[in-house]
Symmetry: C2
Subunit: 469 residues, 2 copies
């Protein structure tokens, strides 16, 4: 027999996963559900904090260092070097300092201005981002020369996070940083894919496309990656400095010819690629290259990891969590329509999950600008979803960047509920026209529903949370 | 103990819903999975065939006629009249003839040219669609006068399906069919919502907006509806001839003024609306009107019903079905991206459901035309999804209209798998450019992957099925 608290007049029955066992949860107010959505988001963010992400997969016990599933015998290892790049490089490095202490012989880290932390045993440089600069290049040179000096009994630990590509620039001799940037903006303008851009980038870099792994050989190399890329493709994150590259110099020339950029690509780059295709320049290391036998690449934090932590928190708070996908891309307002269609089906028929439900998704959508407004993809998602969920009882929508920022605004995202559109109309605002102008920031600012977290010091893209209570 | 057939070398374990019970299913080939997708689609379509839909919710046992949950005592009922409109009106009427036989006193049906069937006791008219015509109007007049003659001991059964609005046109006196059509195209052009257009349509019709129910009073009225509208809103389907209307003449004038159409709306319509606002014309019947106490509206077939039947078939075939939503709207290629993101997450992490999985959704998406190609929203969905699922092992995508048509083509939709894009590239085709030109029909025609069913004689919008085996 189960006990029922008769004081809970509007108690709703929660069938737990275990057949036959019934627990009771009082219906939550909208305010409580809004606060739950925030908690669910923050639980996701916390799970991928750089230091925690590193500590979860890296353990030291006596003389054994365990990184994910691989064990390193610290007695057999002579020197340990730490290198790293990315916006989260400093807290990741701090975690490694705490684990390895004075076993670290030397280390060099490039991070973004304002993202440094005081480190004991490592040298940290704050360098240019998103536009790479000379300081970044000097840091990259020093990192390359450090790993080149490592021997076969040495272990190099490499820390990579979002922004890691721009923060570690090192073009091959004869190509300037400025020329490399020219190439990137040319290719972005002509609509080349990220894989096409990366193929060329990797071939004119001394670090990207597996070249850092090549330079590290014969030392052992373990790369810890905080992924800010949809799908966590190792060769895409920071242009894969420790990952095999399958593209060739010929591919690069074919891409340039495909977009008819022969006359626009800087001469030094074209020349270098032609020399490479003629066999006079060394290609990037391919799968099977000996250096990768001594390389371990480990994702320590990612969007799906944050989502799963959010889902646990949602379950703890009494909701049925449903993880839709960590791979959501596409035009934000259309993506919002699909999400709200699922939420409404929960209300209508209890599919794909029952109330009280919590839909969670991640990834990174895009916004095609139509107006002159201010906003970000997360705020736009919430506004578009709120318009679709207008009047839907007991529903809450939250979308925010795990890094605490969303577009060129001071907000991480926004939070709305089924009454938000009605409230804004009562204030004389026209929510549809805010959406039309891409002015979600001003909409949520006026109505007091911005989600402001400040910088979280991590980044695994966005989280979207829809509660149907 | 469960028996294992050791001959099934590559057997994969299927955990059934019942804890502890395990059954084994051999891995299916891609061909089998493609055929399964077809079966799953057809099971959905079959479940909403007009006759079957009617027979499922209407039963006669002796002197009792049961329609959904309501019972009618045929001894107490003097006359039974059948009226109907829509593309599926004929098979729905045929089913009612089989249930009620000679208890039907008289009946009048309007359907689209080519959609008629030989009926025994009912008079069927084939009339204009999508552009309403005089024949439709004469049929509507006859239907109105039939129900107006009914008495309080009579029962009127009204059959409604897709196209029912255009097939039953009856503007109020002084407004011509042509003027009514002018108004509709005016409002569509200025971006008015379907609710705004319907508000005005209902106020200048003698049948829509509950007026058929009003005319039927004091007879009893049971309306059986095959819904082709996202969300199955009773007041939207065929402009709700037997459903209360909450809008007023004043609302209509406000809508015309909102879109600044005062000078463009035909004079007869403006004049009629102004007279109505001044109280000189009768408003549509509102909620609480006595006629609705004697009216029963029943959805006999809908998109979610088809989806649930498809889900059952998927389960029978060994998949874990997951019903995403019957309410999917939005730009087709973006909707496809969200669906494939979910499919890919199933492959990566087993969320939101485990393999072998079958995602099912319904509703109706839109296509913004970019090119001069040929296709429909379903074929475009499958092409866009196939591009996203390129190379994804053991995956099948099907999307098709339940009516057997998709855009201006002879196909219901298309079917693709993870190899489709590769196969087309091998044939020298560029699938991305087919999508860019909205030329999905020619793409699937060349590659032999159109789904052609012929007319199914029902319509509950689209079904989308994604198998991850």
């Amino acid at each position: 027999m189960c006990q029922i608290d008769k004081g809970l007049l509007f108690a709703s029955v929660v069938w737990t996963k275990c057949w036959g066992k019934i627990s009771f949860m009082p219906s939550k107010t909208l305010d409580v559900m809004r606060s739950d959505a925030r908690k669910i988001f923050m639980a996701g963010v916390k799970s991928v904090e750089p230091a925690r992400a590193v500590e979860t997969l890296v353990q030291r016990e006596g003389h054994t260092l365990t990184i994910d599933t691989r064990q390193y015998d610290l007695i057999q290892i002579e020197n340990i070097y730490l290198v790293g790049t990315g916006k989260a490089a400093a807290p990741m490095a701090l975690a490694m300092e705490q684990i390895l202490g004075n076993r670290i012989n030397e280390g060099l880290i490039n991070t973004k201005h304002g993202h440094g932390l005081p480190l004991k045993r490592l040298k940290l440089r704050e360098v240019g981002h998103p536009v790479p600069d000379e300081a970044g290049m000097r840091g990259a040179e020093a990192i390359l020369s450090l790993v080149q000096g490592a021997k076969d009994r040495d272990l190099i630990i490499c820390l990579i996070s979002g922004g890691g590509s721009a923060l570690l620039p090192l073009p091959v001799e004869g190509i300037s940083l400025k020329e490399k940037q020219e190439l990137t903006s040319l290719m972005l303008r002509c609509g080349a894919t990220i894989h096409e851009i990366n193929a060329i980038r990797k071939h004119i870099s001394r670090i990207k496309g597996g070249r850092l792994a090549e330079a590290s050989w014969p030392a052992r190399l373990a790369t810890l990656i905080l992924s800010d890329v949809v799908g966590d493709s190792l060769d895409v994150i920071a242009s894969g400095p420790t990952v095999p590259d399958e593209s060739t110099f010929e591919d690069c020339l074919a891409i340039i010819s495909k977009y008819r950029l022969e006359s626009e690509v800087p001469f030094s780059i074209r020349n270098y690629l032609h020399e490479g295709a003629a066999g006079r320049r060394q290609d990037t290391p391919k799968p099977g290259n000996a250096c990768f036998a001594r390389t371990q690449n480990v994702i320590v934090g990612s969007n799906i990891q944050a989502i799963m932590a959010s889902a646990s928190e949602a379950r703890r708070l009494g909701y049925h969590p449903l993880v839709l996908s960590s791979l959501i891309e596409g035009e934000t307002r259309e993506v919002a329509k699909v999400h709200t269609a699922i939420a409404k089906e929960i209300v209508r028929t209890g599919n794909p999950t029952r109330r009280p439900a919590c839909l969670i998704s991640g990834g990174e959508t895009t916004v095609t600008l139509r107006g002159e407004g201010r906003g970000g993809r997360n705020q736009e998602f919430v506004l578009a979803a709120a318009l679709e969920m207008k009047g839907l009882d007991r529903s809450v929508i939250l979308s925010a960047g795990t890094d605490g920022t969303d577009g060129p605004t001071d907000a991480a995202g926004a939070i709305a509920d089924g009454n938000t559109v009605g409230r804004s109309l009562n204030k004389g605002m026209d929510p549809a026209s805010y959406l039309e102008r891409n002015d979600s920031y001003n909409f949520f600012s006026k109505i007091g529903d911005l989600l402001i977290t400040g910088p979280t010091k991590t980044n695994v893209m966005d989280l979207r949370i829809i509660i149907v209570g």
